[in-house]
């Protein structure tokens, strides 16, 4: 082959701004296996959906390690056990149940909705903070600080420590990037080191909370008295690392991708300004059209599995390309069109099955409030650079900066 494999083109940073033509190409080969020992890429909506519900697919970090993939979650390497996103039932289910008690139904059904006023307050504060400036970076001044503040309050991590933990979060997130090219081993070591550091930082907080619970999620996790009992300290730490990272590294992209997409489709920005109720449909369509998690690279199969006539042998790595499934013409009419009025919008943006996004209700609410307030308050916003510069990561894909000019700030 003279050209690079599709897989390498997808992970290649040069294609970060617009990977969608590559995903379209993937649809020609619904199960793509390009290199010995490499992953099987699955790109059609129905296949992805069925594999997300398939009990022969494992998320267990140990199985992935056996498949020869990167593994940053092993106990031996970092001292922290893998978080529940990298475990199978029954351990996954137990940890997720405990984590969910202070977060969602059935035990805390009103938790997220009760944060609505607080979230709106944070958003107003950030927008007011633009001051007299007539150009902002949506990422640094808004889409990043907003979810960070929210997850810090929810977990009970001091917001002022953000500069500290940010230095650890970056290499951890980089470790999730399946850039199959360079410096893999070094990148992984960096991620493991950072994960341990972050864990140690959180350990101090967890110790405080176990003595003096303060009602936040860290306190709830260490003192949980549900039928599953509390988590061990180590389990609390890996769960806290997971929630802290997932709580903002994905939402920042959802909000930024959202603003970018709206600026590219100004008619919807205008409609949103006049009708804030439209934001629900906009966010759902964004999760389809520009999902913040583009693919799930962490699954292996524990049996031979047949998908569309191709047998994926036991022990293989499988990548579920959610962003490609979201634009599968077999599933969505006119899939490349951004259409918030779509009624049929069962997207894969939050995944599906037992690992479906834990924070989905929070992410939805954050994005809804963020986008409707930006639309309402920025007068005549314009993109400064299209496409904007992107972050390195192919999985958690989004702009690194998003400069926007505007004429005035509405009250």
């Amino acid at each position: 082959m003279t050209h690079h494999s599709l897989l390498r083109q997808i992970t290649d940073y040069a294609n970060r701004a617009n990977p969608y033509p590559l995903y379209k190409e993937l649809h020609n080969t619904p199960v793509l296996h390009e290199e010995d020992g490499g992953p099987y890429l699955v790109s059609s909506y129905w296949d992805i959906l069925s594999l997300l519900h398939d009990p022969r697919i494992s998320s267990d970090a140990a199985n992935l390690a056996a498949a020869g993939a990167d593994e940053m979650g092993g106990v031996a390497e970092t001292g922290l056990p893998p978080s529940f996103i990298r475990q199978d039932p029954p351990e996954h289910d137990r940890l997720r149940r405990i984590a969910n008690r202070p977060f969602g139904p059935p035990h805390s059904p009103r938790k997220i909705d009760s944060m609505r006023g607080e979230l709106a307050g944070i958003v107003s504060g950030l927008i007011d903070g633009f001051g007299q400036a007539r150009q902002i970076d949506v990422v640094d001044q808004f889409a990043y600080p907003f979810p960070v503040t929210v997850i810090c309050r929810l977990l009970g991590v001091p917001r002022e420590d953000e500069p500290r933990f940010h230095t650890w979060v970056e290499p951890i997130v980089a470790g999730l990037d399946p850039d199959t090219g360079k410096d893999d081993a070094e990148r992984r070591r960096g991620a493991q080191e950072a994960r341990m550091q972050l864990g140690m930082y959180l350990a101090q907080l967890v110790e405080q909370r176990s003595k003096e619970p303060t009602g936040d999620m860290l306190s709830e996790l260490v003192t949980s008295h549900g039928p599953d009992g509390p988590m061990t300290t180590m389990e609390v730490l890996s769960t806290a690392v997971l929630l802290l990272i997932a709580g903002h590294e994905t939402t920042v992209n959802l909000i930024t991708n959202g603003m970018l997409t709206l600026l590219r489709h100004p008619e919807y920005l205008e409609r949103l300004r006049n009708d804030p109720g439209l934001v629900v449909g906009i966010v759902e369509e964004l999760l389809r059209y520009e999902p913040p998690v583009q693919l799930v690279p962490q699954r292996t199969c524990i049996a031979d599995i047949e998908v569309r006539g191709t047998t994926i042998p036991k022990g293989s790595k499988i990548w579920l390309v959610l962003a490609a499934g979201n634009r599968d013409p077999e599933r969505f009419t006119d899939p490349d069109r951004f259409d918030p009025d779509r009624k049929d919008i069962q997207h894969l943006g939050f995944g599906s099955g037992i690992h479906s996004c834990f924070g989905a209700p929070l992410a939805r609410l954050e994005a809804q409030i963020a986008l409707s307030e930006l639309a309402r308050r920025l007068d005549n916003p314009r993109l400064v650079k299209d496409p904007p510069p992107y972050r390195q990561n192919a999985v958690l894909r989004g702009p690194r900066h998003l400069l926007v000019d505007f004429d005035a700030l509405r009250p």
């Binding site: 959906l49 519900h53 009990p55 494992s58 039932p89 289910d93 599906s352």
Partner: protein, 464 residues
């Protein structure tokens, strides 16, 4: 008029009558309009209410978390129908294409959809059934009455029958701290629907939640005080239960009596129809203007050996109504078969139970994920070497996979590894369904007849 002309005329100016104004009836009406039917549409319902949702009646409504008066079904679209609510249909004249109503009125149709559903099987002894405090639970009015009585701090509630409805009622009582006895003829709760292996788990759930569960017994008599209020119940083992509220949860009876003598293939087991929802007449000849959908229908299912399935499932009612409505106004080449894979859910004692396929066909069961003892598991039923059904306790998210296994006739026993497979799940064991010839409150799937020409489909008058 050619067939094409007739169809065009029907879609434009035809008269469609839907008997049964609940879930299936409403969804059919909406589908007809969505597919461009512009003729006249009449909805006939014996209850005085607009279509409402029944599943909450045995759950949130009994807990006082939702009002039975606010369970109206959300509308997909305007149906622009003439509503005849609170008036039961009492007869059908197939040759004159007319439905007779309880108020002596008659309504003519060009296409008829029968979606009269089922009603709760009443307590067989009429005098005892009349006692104050004796309930069934099927309708909004039933739920309002029962909920009020639960509010009034009864000494004890007796639930007769531990099928899904009975178990959900018992669960709602316990959640409110009300003492409850459940009397079940079979060996365990849910045995008719899910078999004895799963029934044993359900029995533990009942007992752990403080239900006084009595299995292998029947209620022989209900006794009232001089004021006509129920006071006690006698069981077949000699026990006497002091109680203020008795809920009879003995399954359902199909609402087909109004069709007696009409010439339609209707009887106590429902109305037989083909996979396209067209009703059979009593000779086994398919009609072309009478359609059936929902709980009252029995139709052959290719996935299950073309057996005629009667399904009392919410999802089935919706799916069958959509297919029936589509077929009513389509040319024969455009018609679709109703091939919905049976699925139902229940929520009781804090556990979410869901099933796909036809568990009562299962000869054996295998716990492929989780564990019975932890009450979180997926059980897979096998029939003649293939996967025929699956049930989950607090493991709903895997069931899509098993549904596909059923649809593709995947081999049983399930050999390939699955996540969370325990040693107990490596071998199939007998699923332990009770003898189907014994009376029971009934599984929610029943099998009857083998083919459209089965003699047992011949018209049989309603029992009573």
């Amino acid at each position: 008029m050619t067939a094409d002309d007739h169809l065009a005329w029907l879609r434009c100016e035809g008269r469609i009558v839907i008997v049964g104004a609940s879930l299936a009836g409403l969804r059919a009406a909406e589908t007809l309009r969505a597919e461009g039917f512009t003729g006249s549409l009449t909805m006939i319902g014996d209850e005085p209410y607009e279509p409402y949702d029944r599943p909450p009646l045995s759950k949130a409504v009994l807990l006082g978390k939702a009002s039975a008066r606010h369970t109206a079904l959300p509308r997909r679209r305007d149906v622009d129908a003439k509503w005849r609510l609170g008036v039961a249909a009492t007869g059908l004249d197939l040759s004159a294409q007319r439905v007779r109503l309880a108020d002596e009125d008659e309504v003519e149709y060009d296409r008829l959809l029968i979606a009269t559903g089922v009603r709760a099987r009443p307590w067989p002894k009429e005098a005892e059934a009349q006692l104050d405090g004796v309930f069934v639970l099927r309708t909004r009015d039933d739920a309002v009455g029962l909920e009020q009585r639960l509010r009034a701090s009864p000494r004890r509630v007796l639930v007769i029958g531990a099928g899904f409805t009975g178990s959900e009622i018992a669960s709602a009582c316990r959640e409110q701290g009300i003492a409850v006895t459940v009397a079940e003829r079979g060996g365990a709760p849910l045995v008719g629907a899910l078999g004895g292996v799963i029934g044993a788990v359900a029995a533990v759930l009942h007992r752990e939640n403080g239900v006084d569960l009595r299995t292998g017994v029947t209620v022989t008599a209900l006794e009232g005080d001089p004021a006509g209020r129920v006071r006690s119940a006698h069981l077949s083992d000699g026990a006497v239960i002091e109680t203020d509220v008795v809920v009879v949860a003995l399954g359902a009876t199909r609402n087909t009596e109004w069709l007696t003598g009409s010439g339609l293939g209707a009887g106590p087991r429902g109305i037989a129809c083909d996979a396209g929802c067209r009703a059979f007449d009593f000779r086994g000849i398919v009609t072309d203007d009478v359609y059936v959908a929902g709980d009252v229908a029995r139709s052959p299912h290719p996935l299950f050996g073309y057996q005629f399935l009667s399904l009392e499932h919410w999802g089935n009612a919706v799916s069958q109504a959509e297919v029936a409505a589509h077929n009513m106004i389509s040319a024969s080449a455009d018609r679709r078969p109703h091939m919905w894979v049976p699925a139902f859910w229940s929520s009781q004692f804090g556990v979410n139970i869901k099933s796909v396929g036809v568990p009562p066909m299962g000869e054996e069961i295998m716990i492929t994920q989780g564990s019975l003892a932890e009450r979180r598991f997926v059980g897979v039923y096998g029939y003649q070497g293939r996967v025929i059904a699956a049930v989950s306790f607090d493991n709903t998210r895997w069931l899509d996979f098993y549904q596909r296994q059923i649809e593709t006739a995947a081999p049983f026993p399930v050999e390939s590894p699955t996540v969370d497979r325990r040693p107990e799940g490596r071998r199939p064991i007998p699923s332990d369904f009770p003898d189907p010839s014994l009376p029971s409150h009934g599984p929610t799937v029943t099998l009857s007849g083998y083919s459209p020409a089965d003699r047992r489909l011949v018209f049989s008058p309603a029992r009573r």
